[in-house]
Protein backbone atom coordinates (compact mmCIF):
# COMPACT_ATOMS: atom_id res chain seq x y z
CA UNK A 1 0.00 0.00 0.00
CA UNK A 2 1.47 3.29 -0.94
CA UNK A 3 0.97 6.46 0.97
CA UNK A 4 0.93 9.83 -0.72
CA UNK A 5 2.98 12.64 0.68
CA UNK A 6 -0.15 14.54 1.58
CA UNK A 7 -2.03 11.55 2.97
CA UNK A 8 -3.27 11.89 6.52
CA UNK A 9 -2.95 8.36 7.78
CA UNK A 10 -2.45 6.81 11.15
CA UNK A 11 0.64 4.78 11.92
CA UNK A 12 -0.97 1.43 11.30
CA UNK A 13 -2.27 2.52 7.93
CA UNK A 14 1.02 4.00 6.84
CA UNK A 15 2.87 0.84 7.86
CA UNK A 16 0.38 -1.67 6.60
CA UNK A 17 0.84 -3.65 3.45
CA UNK A 18 -0.51 -7.05 2.59
CA UNK A 19 1.22 -9.45 4.96
CA UNK A 20 3.54 -11.94 3.34
CA UNK A 21 3.92 -15.67 3.79
CA UNK A 22 7.48 -16.72 4.59
CA UNK A 23 8.76 -20.23 3.92
CA UNK A 24 12.02 -21.78 5.03
CA UNK A 25 12.49 -24.88 2.92
CA UNK A 26 15.01 -27.51 3.93
CA UNK A 27 17.46 -24.85 5.13
CA UNK A 28 20.85 -26.06 6.23
CA UNK A 29 23.99 -24.37 7.46
CA UNK A 30 27.28 -25.81 8.67
CA UNK A 31 30.22 -24.19 10.42
CA UNK A 32 33.05 -26.55 9.65
CA UNK A 33 31.95 -29.87 11.06
CA UNK A 34 29.30 -28.28 13.29
CA UNK A 35 25.75 -28.50 12.00
CA UNK A 36 23.94 -25.28 12.88
CA UNK A 37 20.82 -25.93 10.82
CA UNK A 38 19.84 -29.36 9.64
CA UNK A 39 17.14 -29.15 7.00
CA UNK A 40 14.83 -26.68 8.71
CA UNK A 41 11.32 -26.43 7.29
CA UNK A 42 9.03 -23.70 8.55
CA UNK A 43 6.13 -21.79 7.06
CA UNK A 44 5.06 -18.54 8.69
CA UNK A 45 1.55 -17.53 7.73
CA UNK A 46 0.86 -13.94 6.68
CA UNK A 47 0.63 -11.68 9.74
CA UNK A 48 1.65 -14.46 12.09
CA UNK A 49 4.25 -14.16 14.85
CA UNK A 50 6.34 -17.29 15.20
CA UNK A 51 8.87 -17.55 18.00
CA UNK A 52 11.85 -19.83 17.65
CA UNK A 53 12.85 -21.06 21.08
CA UNK A 54 15.75 -23.21 22.08
CA UNK A 55 18.98 -23.46 24.01
CA UNK A 56 22.20 -21.77 22.92
CA UNK A 57 23.59 -23.29 19.75
CA UNK A 58 20.30 -24.85 18.63
CA UNK A 59 20.33 -22.88 15.37
CA UNK A 60 17.52 -20.40 16.00
CA UNK A 61 19.64 -17.30 15.42
CA UNK A 62 21.26 -18.93 12.39
CA UNK A 63 17.79 -19.50 10.93
CA UNK A 64 16.90 -15.85 11.43
CA UNK A 65 20.18 -14.65 9.94
CA UNK A 66 19.64 -16.84 6.90
CA UNK A 67 16.22 -15.25 6.40
CA UNK A 68 17.81 -11.81 6.71
CA UNK A 69 20.59 -12.76 4.32
CA UNK A 70 23.27 -11.98 6.87
CA UNK A 71 24.61 -15.49 6.31
CA UNK A 72 24.52 -17.79 3.33
CA UNK A 73 22.66 -21.08 3.42
CA UNK A 74 24.52 -24.26 2.49
CA UNK A 75 21.27 -25.69 1.17
CA UNK A 76 17.56 -25.01 0.98
CA UNK A 77 15.53 -21.93 0.14
CA UNK A 78 14.07 -18.84 1.76
CA UNK A 79 10.85 -17.77 0.11
CA UNK A 80 9.29 -14.44 1.07
CA UNK A 81 5.91 -13.55 -0.43
CA UNK A 82 6.34 -16.24 -3.06
CA UNK A 83 9.75 -14.92 -4.15
CA UNK A 84 12.88 -17.00 -3.69
CA UNK A 85 15.29 -14.60 -1.96
CA UNK A 86 17.98 -17.15 -1.07
CA UNK A 87 20.52 -15.62 -3.40
CA UNK A 88 19.61 -11.97 -2.80
CA UNK A 89 21.86 -9.74 -0.68
CA UNK A 90 20.54 -8.48 2.66
CA UNK A 91 19.88 -5.02 1.29
CA UNK A 92 17.40 -6.37 -1.27
CA UNK A 93 15.52 -8.88 0.86
CA UNK A 94 12.84 -6.54 2.16
CA UNK A 95 13.27 -7.54 5.78
CA UNK A 96 13.24 -5.36 8.87
CA UNK A 97 15.36 -6.46 11.78
CA UNK A 98 15.75 -5.61 15.45
CA UNK A 99 18.98 -6.83 16.99
CA UNK A 100 19.91 -8.12 20.41
CA UNK A 101 22.64 -5.48 20.77
CA UNK A 102 21.66 -1.84 20.63
CA UNK A 103 21.98 -1.06 16.96
CA UNK A 104 20.91 2.56 16.58
CA UNK A 105 23.38 4.59 14.56
CA UNK A 106 25.03 6.73 17.28
CA UNK A 107 25.61 9.75 15.05
CA UNK A 108 21.95 10.05 14.09
CA UNK A 109 18.91 11.16 16.06
CA UNK A 110 16.01 8.80 16.65
CA UNK A 111 14.17 10.39 13.72
CA UNK A 112 17.21 10.11 11.43
CA UNK A 113 17.62 6.48 12.44
CA UNK A 114 14.01 5.69 11.58
CA UNK A 115 14.26 7.60 8.31
CA UNK A 116 17.51 5.90 7.26
CA UNK A 117 15.86 2.94 5.52
CA UNK A 118 13.50 5.30 3.70
CA UNK A 119 16.48 7.35 2.57
CA UNK A 120 18.07 4.20 1.17
CA UNK A 121 14.83 3.72 -0.78
CA UNK A 122 15.06 7.27 -2.10
CA UNK A 123 11.85 8.40 -0.44
CA UNK A 124 11.49 12.21 -0.62
CA UNK A 125 12.74 14.14 2.43
CA UNK A 126 9.33 15.47 3.50
CA UNK A 127 7.76 12.03 3.22
CA UNK A 128 10.68 10.51 5.13
CA UNK A 129 10.23 12.96 7.94
CA UNK A 130 6.49 12.39 8.09
CA UNK A 131 6.77 8.61 8.11
CA UNK A 132 9.58 8.62 10.66
CA UNK A 133 7.37 10.76 12.89
CA UNK A 134 4.49 8.32 12.49
CA UNK A 135 6.66 5.34 13.31
CA UNK A 136 7.99 7.03 16.41
CA UNK A 137 4.43 7.83 17.39
CA UNK A 138 3.54 4.17 16.89
CA UNK A 139 6.14 3.15 19.48
CA UNK A 140 5.30 6.08 21.75
CA UNK A 141 8.53 8.00 21.22
CA UNK A 142 7.43 10.93 19.07
CA UNK A 143 8.56 13.33 21.80
CA UNK A 144 12.09 11.86 21.73
CA UNK A 145 12.56 12.19 17.97
CA UNK A 146 15.52 14.56 18.18
CA UNK A 147 17.47 12.61 20.77
CA UNK A 148 20.59 10.62 20.04
CA UNK A 149 20.97 6.98 21.03
CA UNK A 150 23.05 7.81 24.12
CA UNK A 151 20.23 10.06 25.34
CA UNK A 152 17.72 7.17 25.26
CA UNK A 153 17.28 4.29 27.69
CA UNK A 154 17.83 0.72 26.53
CA UNK A 155 14.10 0.11 26.18
CA UNK A 156 13.64 3.33 24.22
CA UNK A 157 16.53 2.43 21.92
CA UNK A 158 14.92 -0.91 21.13
CA UNK A 159 11.59 0.79 20.47
CA UNK A 160 13.30 3.17 18.05
CA UNK A 161 14.98 0.14 16.45
CA UNK A 162 11.52 -1.43 16.08
CA UNK A 163 10.17 1.77 14.50
CA UNK A 164 13.18 1.87 12.18
CA UNK A 165 12.62 -1.73 11.10
CA UNK A 166 8.92 -1.12 10.45
CA UNK A 167 9.36 2.21 8.66
CA UNK A 168 10.49 0.54 5.46
CA UNK A 169 7.32 -1.62 5.46
CA UNK A 170 9.24 -4.88 5.20
CA UNK A 171 7.65 -8.17 4.19
CA UNK A 172 8.88 -9.77 7.37
CA UNK A 173 9.99 -8.42 10.74
CA UNK A 174 12.92 -10.29 12.28
CA UNK A 175 13.47 -9.95 16.01
CA UNK A 176 16.77 -11.36 17.25
CA UNK A 177 16.41 -11.54 21.04
CA UNK A 178 15.57 -7.83 21.18
CA UNK A 179 14.70 -7.92 24.87
CA UNK A 180 17.63 -9.82 26.29
CA UNK A 181 19.72 -6.73 27.11
CA UNK A 182 16.89 -5.13 29.11
CA UNK A 183 15.96 -5.44 32.74
CA UNK A 184 12.99 -7.61 33.69
CA UNK A 185 10.43 -4.83 34.07
CA UNK A 186 11.28 -3.06 30.81
CA UNK A 187 11.50 -6.41 29.07
CA UNK A 188 7.96 -7.29 30.04
CA UNK A 189 6.64 -3.87 28.96
CA UNK A 190 8.46 -3.93 25.65
CA UNK A 191 7.35 -7.50 24.99
CA UNK A 192 3.73 -6.39 25.21
CA UNK A 193 4.56 -3.32 23.12
CA UNK A 194 6.10 -5.45 20.37
CA UNK A 195 3.04 -7.68 20.31
CA UNK A 196 0.69 -4.69 20.17
CA UNK A 197 2.61 -3.06 17.33
CA UNK A 198 2.94 -6.33 15.44
CA UNK A 199 -0.81 -6.92 15.64
CA UNK A 200 -1.59 -3.32 14.73
CA UNK A 201 0.67 -3.42 11.69
CA UNK A 202 -0.20 -7.02 10.86
CA UNK A 203 3.29 -7.91 9.79
CA UNK A 204 4.65 -11.43 9.48
CA UNK A 205 7.21 -11.79 12.26
CA UNK A 206 9.95 -14.22 13.23
CA UNK A 207 11.05 -13.80 16.84
CA UNK A 208 14.08 -15.58 18.20
CA UNK A 209 14.54 -16.03 21.92
CA UNK A 210 15.95 -18.38 24.50
CA UNK A 211 13.43 -17.12 27.05
CA UNK A 212 10.50 -19.53 27.13
CA UNK A 213 8.25 -17.11 29.02
CA UNK A 214 8.83 -14.51 26.32
CA UNK A 215 8.11 -16.98 23.53
CA UNK A 216 4.97 -18.39 25.13
CA UNK A 217 3.63 -14.92 25.93
CA UNK A 218 4.16 -13.27 22.59
CA UNK A 219 3.85 -15.85 19.82
CA UNK A 220 0.99 -17.21 17.77
CA UNK A 221 3.08 -20.34 17.36
CA UNK A 222 6.27 -21.43 19.05
CA UNK A 223 8.91 -23.55 17.38
CA UNK A 224 11.17 -25.36 19.81
CA UNK A 225 14.54 -26.06 18.23
CA UNK A 226 17.25 -28.52 19.11
CA UNK A 227 20.48 -29.27 17.26
CA UNK A 228 19.43 -27.41 14.12
CA UNK A 229 16.00 -29.01 13.86
CA UNK A 230 12.47 -28.14 14.90
CA UNK A 231 11.43 -30.48 17.69
CA UNK A 232 7.89 -29.14 17.79
CA UNK A 233 5.94 -26.27 16.26
CA UNK A 234 2.57 -25.27 17.62
CA UNK A 235 0.53 -22.82 19.65
CA UNK A 236 2.04 -21.98 23.05
CA UNK A 237 -0.63 -23.91 24.95
CA UNK A 238 0.01 -27.04 22.91
CA UNK A 239 3.76 -26.74 23.35
CA UNK A 240 3.32 -26.48 27.08
CA UNK A 241 0.54 -28.95 27.74
CA UNK A 242 1.17 -31.48 24.98
CA UNK A 243 4.91 -31.51 24.35
CA UNK A 244 5.83 -33.76 21.47
CA UNK A 245 9.13 -34.90 22.89
CA UNK A 246 10.76 -35.18 26.31
CA UNK A 247 13.15 -32.41 25.25
CA UNK A 248 10.26 -30.00 24.66
CA UNK A 249 8.62 -31.03 27.91
CA UNK A 250 11.79 -30.37 29.85
CA UNK A 251 12.90 -27.26 27.97
CA UNK A 252 9.55 -25.48 28.16
CA UNK A 253 8.56 -25.07 31.77
CA UNK A 254 9.62 -27.18 34.71
CA UNK A 255 9.04 -30.91 34.93
CA UNK A 256 9.33 -33.57 37.59
CA UNK A 257 11.02 -36.78 36.50
CA UNK A 258 9.22 -39.60 38.30
CA UNK A 259 10.09 -43.25 37.77
CA UNK A 260 7.19 -45.44 36.69
CA UNK A 261 6.15 -48.44 34.62
CA UNK A 262 4.23 -48.23 31.36
CA UNK A 263 1.55 -50.84 30.84
CA UNK A 264 -1.23 -50.72 28.29
CA UNK A 265 -1.09 -47.02 27.50
CA UNK A 266 -0.83 -45.75 31.07
CA UNK A 267 2.12 -45.17 33.33
CA UNK A 268 2.06 -46.24 36.93
CA UNK A 269 3.87 -43.70 39.09
CA UNK A 270 4.03 -44.64 42.75
CA UNK A 271 0.65 -46.31 42.54
CA UNK A 272 -1.00 -43.52 40.55
CA UNK A 273 -1.99 -44.41 36.98
CA UNK A 274 -1.50 -41.49 34.61
CA UNK A 275 -2.63 -41.45 30.95
CA UNK A 276 0.05 -41.03 28.30
CA UNK A 277 0.26 -38.28 25.65
CA UNK A 278 1.47 -40.68 22.96
CA UNK A 279 0.04 -43.93 24.31
CA UNK A 280 0.09 -45.84 21.02
CA UNK A 281 3.78 -45.14 20.43
CA UNK A 282 4.94 -45.90 23.96
CA UNK A 283 6.09 -49.46 24.57
CA UNK A 284 5.49 -51.16 27.90
CA UNK A 285 8.26 -51.21 30.46
CA UNK A 286 10.09 -49.00 32.94
CA UNK A 287 10.10 -45.30 32.07
CA UNK A 288 10.41 -41.84 33.55
CA UNK A 289 7.18 -39.82 33.61
CA UNK A 290 7.49 -36.07 33.05
CA UNK A 291 5.00 -34.35 35.35
CA UNK A 292 4.46 -30.58 35.52
CA UNK A 293 4.76 -29.00 39.02
CA UNK A 294 1.28 -27.51 38.67
CA UNK A 295 -0.12 -31.01 38.08
CA UNK A 296 0.93 -31.90 41.61
CA UNK A 297 -1.07 -30.90 44.68
CA UNK A 298 -0.51 -31.29 48.39
CA UNK A 299 -2.49 -32.27 51.44
CA UNK A 300 -1.36 -32.11 55.05
CA UNK A 301 -0.92 -35.46 56.79
CA UNK A 302 0.11 -36.69 60.18
CA UNK A 303 3.86 -36.56 60.85
CA UNK A 304 3.97 -40.34 61.18
CA UNK A 305 2.19 -41.05 57.89
CA UNK A 306 4.09 -43.14 55.39
CA UNK A 307 3.61 -44.18 51.81
CA UNK A 308 5.07 -43.73 48.34
CA UNK A 309 3.57 -40.26 47.98
CA UNK A 310 4.23 -39.00 51.50
CA UNK A 311 7.08 -36.62 52.03
CA UNK A 312 8.55 -33.61 53.75
CA UNK A 313 8.59 -30.05 52.46
CA UNK A 314 12.26 -29.09 52.27
CA UNK A 315 12.05 -25.74 50.47
CA UNK A 316 9.46 -23.09 49.71
CA UNK A 317 10.07 -20.50 46.98
CA UNK A 318 7.69 -17.53 46.93
CA UNK A 319 6.97 -16.49 43.33
CA UNK A 320 4.18 -13.98 43.91
CA UNK A 321 0.72 -15.39 43.26
CA UNK A 322 2.11 -18.91 43.29
CA UNK A 323 4.75 -20.66 45.36
CA UNK A 324 7.01 -23.52 44.43
CA UNK A 325 7.62 -26.17 47.06
CA UNK A 326 10.20 -28.91 46.99
CA UNK A 327 9.00 -32.12 48.61
CA UNK A 328 11.38 -34.90 49.58
CA UNK A 329 9.75 -38.29 48.95
CA UNK A 330 12.72 -40.23 50.31
CA UNK A 331 14.20 -41.57 47.06
CA UNK A 332 13.42 -38.48 44.96
CA UNK A 333 12.21 -34.90 45.22
CA UNK A 334 9.12 -33.40 43.63
CA UNK A 335 8.47 -29.78 42.68
CA UNK A 336 4.96 -28.61 43.47
CA UNK A 337 3.51 -25.32 42.26
CA UNK A 338 0.43 -24.17 44.12
CA UNK A 339 -1.26 -20.86 44.96
CA UNK A 340 0.66 -18.98 47.62
CA UNK A 341 -2.45 -18.92 49.80
CA UNK A 342 -2.38 -22.76 49.88
CA UNK A 343 1.37 -22.94 50.29
CA UNK A 344 1.13 -21.13 53.61
CA UNK A 345 -0.38 -24.31 55.07
CA UNK A 346 2.78 -26.27 54.22
CA UNK A 347 5.81 -24.59 55.75
CA UNK A 348 9.27 -26.08 55.48
CA UNK A 349 9.61 -29.30 57.48
CA UNK A 350 5.92 -30.20 57.42
CA UNK A 351 4.76 -33.65 56.33
CA UNK A 352 2.56 -33.71 53.24
CA UNK A 353 0.77 -36.12 50.95
CA UNK A 354 1.45 -35.56 47.24
CA UNK A 355 -1.36 -36.04 44.72
CA UNK A 356 -0.82 -36.29 40.96
CA UNK A 357 -3.49 -34.84 38.66
CA UNK A 358 -4.66 -37.22 35.97
CA UNK A 359 -3.30 -35.10 33.08
CA UNK A 360 -1.77 -36.96 30.13
CA UNK A 361 1.99 -37.12 30.59
CA UNK A 362 4.96 -37.84 28.39
CA UNK A 363 7.47 -40.52 29.33
CA UNK A 364 11.12 -40.92 28.44
CA UNK A 365 13.59 -43.74 28.69
CA UNK A 366 16.48 -41.33 29.28
CA UNK A 367 17.54 -41.32 32.89
CA UNK A 368 19.26 -37.93 32.59
CA UNK A 369 17.23 -34.79 31.96
CA UNK A 370 17.54 -33.10 28.57
CA UNK A 371 20.12 -30.31 28.43
CA UNK A 372 18.44 -26.92 28.75
Amino acid sequence: MSVGASGQMGPSQSTARSAAEVRLEDLSRHYGSTVALDGLNLTIEPGELVALLGPSGCGKTTALRLVAGLEDADGGRVVIAGRDVTQLPTSRRDTGMVFQAYSLFPHMTARENVAFGLRMRRVAATERRRRAGEMLELVGLDTQADRYAHQLSGGQQQRVALARALAIRPSILLLDEPLSALDARVRSQLRDEIRRVQREVGITTLFVTHDQEEALAIADRVGVMRAGRLEQLGPPTTIYSQPATPFVAEFVGLTNRLAGVVTGGVVDVRGVRLPLIAAAETPDGPAVALVRPEAVSLAAVAPSSNGPLSGTVIAVAFLGAVSRLTVDLGDTTVLVQIPTSEAAAHPGGSRVQVALRQDPVLVTRDQAPARR
Binding site: L70, S103, Y148
Partner: protein, 266 residues
Protein backbone atom coordinates in the same frame (compact mmCIF):
# COMPACT_ATOMS: atom_id res chain seq x y z
CA UNK B 1 38.38 12.04 45.92
CA UNK B 2 38.99 14.56 48.69
CA UNK B 3 39.82 18.21 48.08
CA UNK B 4 43.49 17.93 49.02
CA UNK B 5 44.05 15.05 46.63
CA UNK B 6 42.22 16.90 43.85
CA UNK B 7 44.43 19.96 44.43
CA UNK B 8 47.59 17.90 44.31
CA UNK B 9 46.42 16.28 41.09
CA UNK B 10 45.65 19.71 39.59
CA UNK B 11 49.13 20.97 40.54
CA UNK B 12 50.74 17.84 39.08
CA UNK B 13 48.76 18.31 35.82
CA UNK B 14 49.79 21.96 35.63
CA UNK B 15 53.47 21.05 36.18
CA UNK B 16 53.29 18.40 33.45
CA UNK B 17 51.70 20.88 31.03
CA UNK B 18 54.29 23.56 31.81
CA UNK B 19 57.28 21.17 31.49
CA UNK B 20 55.97 19.68 28.23
CA UNK B 21 55.10 23.15 26.93
CA UNK B 22 58.61 24.40 27.65
CA UNK B 23 60.10 21.26 26.11
CA UNK B 24 58.37 22.06 22.83
CA UNK B 25 58.26 25.84 22.94
CA UNK B 26 61.88 26.62 23.92
CA UNK B 27 63.42 25.08 20.76
CA UNK B 28 60.75 26.77 18.59
CA UNK B 29 61.34 30.09 20.33
CA UNK B 30 65.07 29.63 19.76
CA UNK B 31 64.43 28.89 16.08
CA UNK B 32 62.30 32.03 15.75
CA UNK B 33 64.92 34.05 17.58
CA UNK B 34 67.60 32.81 15.21
CA UNK B 35 65.51 33.23 12.07
CA UNK B 36 64.63 36.84 12.90
CA UNK B 37 68.17 38.05 13.75
CA UNK B 38 69.53 40.97 11.81
CA UNK B 39 72.49 40.52 9.50
CA UNK B 40 74.99 42.31 11.75
CA UNK B 41 75.39 42.35 15.51
CA UNK B 42 73.06 44.91 17.05
CA UNK B 43 70.94 45.33 13.92
CA UNK B 44 67.15 45.20 14.38
CA UNK B 45 65.14 42.01 14.04
CA UNK B 46 63.84 41.24 10.56
CA UNK B 47 61.35 38.88 8.89
CA UNK B 48 63.37 38.78 5.69
CA UNK B 49 64.20 35.09 6.14
CA UNK B 50 60.46 34.35 6.16
CA UNK B 51 59.52 36.68 3.31
CA UNK B 52 62.30 35.47 1.08
CA UNK B 53 60.85 31.93 1.12
CA UNK B 54 58.02 32.92 -1.23
CA UNK B 55 60.52 34.54 -3.59
CA UNK B 56 62.30 31.23 -4.20
CA UNK B 57 60.31 29.27 -6.82
CA UNK B 58 62.19 26.01 -6.12
CA UNK B 59 61.36 26.30 -2.45
CA UNK B 60 57.74 27.07 -3.18
CA UNK B 61 57.68 24.08 -5.53
CA UNK B 62 59.07 21.81 -2.82
CA UNK B 63 56.52 23.06 -0.29
CA UNK B 64 53.68 22.61 -2.78
CA UNK B 65 54.91 19.12 -3.66
CA UNK B 66 55.01 18.08 0.01
CA UNK B 67 51.52 19.42 0.60
CA UNK B 68 50.22 17.61 -2.49
CA UNK B 69 51.93 14.43 -1.34
CA UNK B 70 50.38 14.80 2.12
CA UNK B 71 46.94 15.16 0.56
CA UNK B 72 47.37 12.26 -1.87
CA UNK B 73 48.80 9.97 0.79
CA UNK B 74 46.09 10.86 3.34
CA UNK B 75 43.27 10.19 0.90
CA UNK B 76 45.02 7.16 -0.57
CA UNK B 77 45.78 5.43 2.70
CA UNK B 78 42.26 6.00 4.03
CA UNK B 79 40.70 4.74 0.81
CA UNK B 80 42.96 1.70 0.86
CA UNK B 81 43.11 0.86 4.53
CA UNK B 82 39.71 1.73 5.98
CA UNK B 83 37.53 -0.52 3.79
CA UNK B 84 40.14 -3.29 4.04
CA UNK B 85 40.20 -3.15 7.83
CA UNK B 86 36.41 -3.04 8.05
CA UNK B 87 36.05 -5.88 5.56
CA UNK B 88 38.61 -7.99 7.43
CA UNK B 89 36.83 -7.44 10.74
CA UNK B 90 33.41 -8.23 9.29
CA UNK B 91 34.06 -11.03 6.86
CA UNK B 92 37.61 -12.34 7.20
CA UNK B 93 38.38 -12.27 10.91
CA UNK B 94 41.28 -14.69 10.46
CA UNK B 95 43.03 -12.07 8.31
CA UNK B 96 42.97 -9.34 10.95
CA UNK B 97 46.26 -10.44 12.55
CA UNK B 98 48.17 -10.96 9.29
CA UNK B 99 46.87 -7.59 8.08
CA UNK B 100 48.08 -5.93 11.25
CA UNK B 101 51.47 -7.58 10.85
CA UNK B 102 51.76 -6.40 7.25
CA UNK B 103 50.73 -2.86 8.14
CA UNK B 104 53.13 -2.59 11.07
CA UNK B 105 56.10 -4.08 9.23
CA UNK B 106 57.34 -0.75 7.74
CA UNK B 107 57.97 0.42 11.31
CA UNK B 108 60.59 -2.26 11.74
CA UNK B 109 62.44 -1.57 8.49
CA UNK B 110 64.90 1.33 8.48
CA UNK B 111 64.20 3.96 5.81
CA UNK B 112 67.57 3.30 4.21
CA UNK B 113 66.65 -0.36 3.72
CA UNK B 114 63.31 0.65 2.26
CA UNK B 115 65.10 2.88 -0.21
CA UNK B 116 67.29 -0.01 -1.34
CA UNK B 117 64.10 -1.86 -2.19
CA UNK B 118 62.37 1.15 -3.70
CA UNK B 119 65.28 2.31 -5.87
CA UNK B 120 64.90 -0.14 -8.80
CA UNK B 121 61.13 0.26 -8.78
CA UNK B 122 61.43 4.03 -8.86
CA UNK B 123 63.98 3.85 -11.67
CA UNK B 124 61.43 1.87 -13.68
CA UNK B 125 58.60 4.25 -12.68
CA UNK B 126 60.60 7.33 -13.69
CA UNK B 127 61.39 5.84 -17.09
CA UNK B 128 58.01 4.30 -17.90
CA UNK B 129 55.47 6.26 -15.84
CA UNK B 130 56.42 9.68 -14.57
CA UNK B 131 59.35 11.48 -13.02
CA UNK B 132 57.09 13.77 -11.00
CA UNK B 133 57.80 13.97 -7.29
CA UNK B 134 54.22 12.86 -6.74
CA UNK B 135 55.22 9.27 -7.48
CA UNK B 136 56.79 9.39 -4.02
CA UNK B 137 53.22 8.90 -2.80
CA UNK B 138 53.59 5.15 -3.47
CA UNK B 139 56.52 4.93 -1.07
CA UNK B 140 54.84 7.21 1.46
CA UNK B 141 51.69 5.09 1.39
CA UNK B 142 53.80 2.25 2.73
CA UNK B 143 55.60 4.52 5.17
CA UNK B 144 52.39 5.80 6.81
CA UNK B 145 50.67 2.39 6.97
CA UNK B 146 51.68 1.56 10.58
CA UNK B 147 50.61 4.93 11.97
CA UNK B 148 47.30 4.97 10.14
CA UNK B 149 46.62 1.33 10.97
CA UNK B 150 47.03 1.94 14.70
CA UNK B 151 44.86 5.08 14.62
CA UNK B 152 42.09 3.40 12.63
CA UNK B 153 42.26 0.18 14.65
CA UNK B 154 41.77 2.19 17.84
CA UNK B 155 38.72 3.87 16.28
CA UNK B 156 37.22 0.61 15.01
CA UNK B 157 37.57 -0.91 18.47
CA UNK B 158 35.13 1.67 19.84
CA UNK B 159 32.37 0.90 17.32
CA UNK B 160 30.24 -2.25 17.12
CA UNK B 161 30.75 -2.36 13.38
CA UNK B 162 29.17 -5.77 12.97
CA UNK B 163 25.81 -4.82 14.44
CA UNK B 164 25.76 -1.37 12.85
CA UNK B 165 26.64 -2.70 9.42
CA UNK B 166 24.08 -5.50 9.66
CA UNK B 167 21.43 -3.02 10.75
CA UNK B 168 22.27 -0.71 7.86
CA UNK B 169 22.31 -3.53 5.34
CA UNK B 170 18.95 -4.83 6.55
CA UNK B 171 17.60 -1.33 5.90
CA UNK B 172 18.78 -1.44 2.31
CA UNK B 173 22.26 0.09 2.49
CA UNK B 174 25.01 -1.23 0.22
CA UNK B 175 28.57 -1.75 1.46
CA UNK B 176 29.74 1.70 0.34
CA UNK B 177 26.95 3.37 2.29
CA UNK B 178 27.66 1.20 5.32
CA UNK B 179 31.30 2.28 5.36
CA UNK B 180 30.97 5.98 4.54
CA UNK B 181 27.60 6.83 6.09
CA UNK B 182 27.54 4.58 9.12
CA UNK B 183 30.98 3.45 10.23
CA UNK B 184 33.20 6.41 9.30
CA UNK B 185 31.02 9.06 11.00
CA UNK B 186 31.23 7.03 14.20
CA UNK B 187 35.01 6.90 14.17
CA UNK B 188 35.68 10.37 12.82
CA UNK B 189 38.26 11.08 15.56
CA UNK B 190 40.28 8.08 14.44
CA UNK B 191 40.05 9.15 10.80
CA UNK B 192 41.20 12.68 11.70
CA UNK B 193 44.05 11.25 13.76
CA UNK B 194 45.11 9.03 10.87
CA UNK B 195 45.05 12.09 8.56
CA UNK B 196 47.12 14.10 10.98
CA UNK B 197 49.72 11.34 11.28
CA UNK B 198 49.88 11.07 7.48
CA UNK B 199 50.45 14.78 7.08
CA UNK B 200 53.05 14.87 9.85
CA UNK B 201 54.96 11.88 8.46
CA UNK B 202 54.89 13.13 4.86
CA UNK B 203 55.87 16.71 5.74
CA UNK B 204 58.69 15.42 7.92
CA UNK B 205 60.05 12.78 5.55
CA UNK B 206 63.63 13.32 4.36
CA UNK B 207 65.54 10.08 3.83
CA UNK B 208 63.52 8.46 1.06
CA UNK B 209 63.05 11.68 -0.92
CA UNK B 210 66.70 12.60 -0.61
CA UNK B 211 68.07 9.18 -1.54
CA UNK B 212 65.66 8.82 -4.45
CA UNK B 213 66.71 12.30 -5.56
CA UNK B 214 63.43 14.17 -5.16
CA UNK B 215 63.17 17.59 -3.58
CA UNK B 216 60.41 17.72 -0.98
CA UNK B 217 60.06 20.12 1.93
CA UNK B 218 62.65 18.48 4.19
CA UNK B 219 65.18 18.06 1.39
CA UNK B 220 64.65 21.74 0.51
CA UNK B 221 65.20 22.75 4.15
CA UNK B 222 68.40 20.69 4.29
CA UNK B 223 69.66 22.13 0.99
CA UNK B 224 68.77 25.62 2.07
CA UNK B 225 70.62 25.07 5.34
CA UNK B 226 73.88 24.62 3.43
CA UNK B 227 73.87 28.21 2.16
CA UNK B 228 71.22 30.12 4.17
CA UNK B 229 70.78 28.87 7.72
CA UNK B 230 68.26 31.55 8.65
CA UNK B 231 65.96 30.82 5.71
CA UNK B 232 66.27 27.12 6.42
CA UNK B 233 65.23 27.61 10.05
CA UNK B 234 62.43 29.99 9.03
CA UNK B 235 61.06 27.32 6.70
CA UNK B 236 61.31 24.71 9.45
CA UNK B 237 59.39 27.02 11.79
CA UNK B 238 56.68 27.56 9.19
CA UNK B 239 56.34 23.84 8.54
CA UNK B 240 56.05 23.21 12.29
CA UNK B 241 53.43 25.94 12.60
CA UNK B 242 51.53 24.46 9.69
CA UNK B 243 51.41 21.06 11.39
CA UNK B 244 50.30 22.69 14.66
CA UNK B 245 47.53 24.62 12.92
CA UNK B 246 46.50 21.48 11.08
CA UNK B 247 46.48 19.57 14.37
CA UNK B 248 44.26 22.17 16.02
CA UNK B 249 41.94 22.27 13.02
CA UNK B 250 41.54 18.50 13.02
CA UNK B 251 41.02 18.44 16.77
CA UNK B 252 38.33 21.09 16.41
CA UNK B 253 36.64 19.18 13.58
CA UNK B 254 36.86 15.97 15.54
CA UNK B 255 35.29 17.55 18.61
CA UNK B 256 32.59 19.11 16.48
CA UNK B 257 31.79 15.72 14.97
CA UNK B 258 31.79 14.08 18.41
CA UNK B 259 29.51 16.77 19.83
CA UNK B 260 27.11 16.25 16.97
CA UNK B 261 26.73 12.58 17.55
CA UNK B 262 27.14 12.72 21.34
CA UNK B 263 28.96 10.02 23.24
CA UNK B 264 29.48 6.82 21.32
CA UNK B 265 27.75 4.67 23.86
CA UNK B 266 25.17 5.82 26.33
Amino acid sequence: MNRRRRRRLAIFSAVVYVVLGLFFLIPIAAMIEFATRGVALGSPRTLSAFTSISADPELVGAIAASLELALIVSVGVLALLLPTMIWARLRLARLVRPLELICLTPLTIPAIVLVVGFAPIYRWLEINFSDSILILSFAYLILVLPYCYRALAAGLATVDIRTLSEAARSLGAGWGTVVYRIIVPNMSSAVFNACLLCVAVVLGEFTIANLLDFENLQVAIATLGTYSAQESIALAVLSLLFVFVFLFALTFLSRFASRRRGAMRG
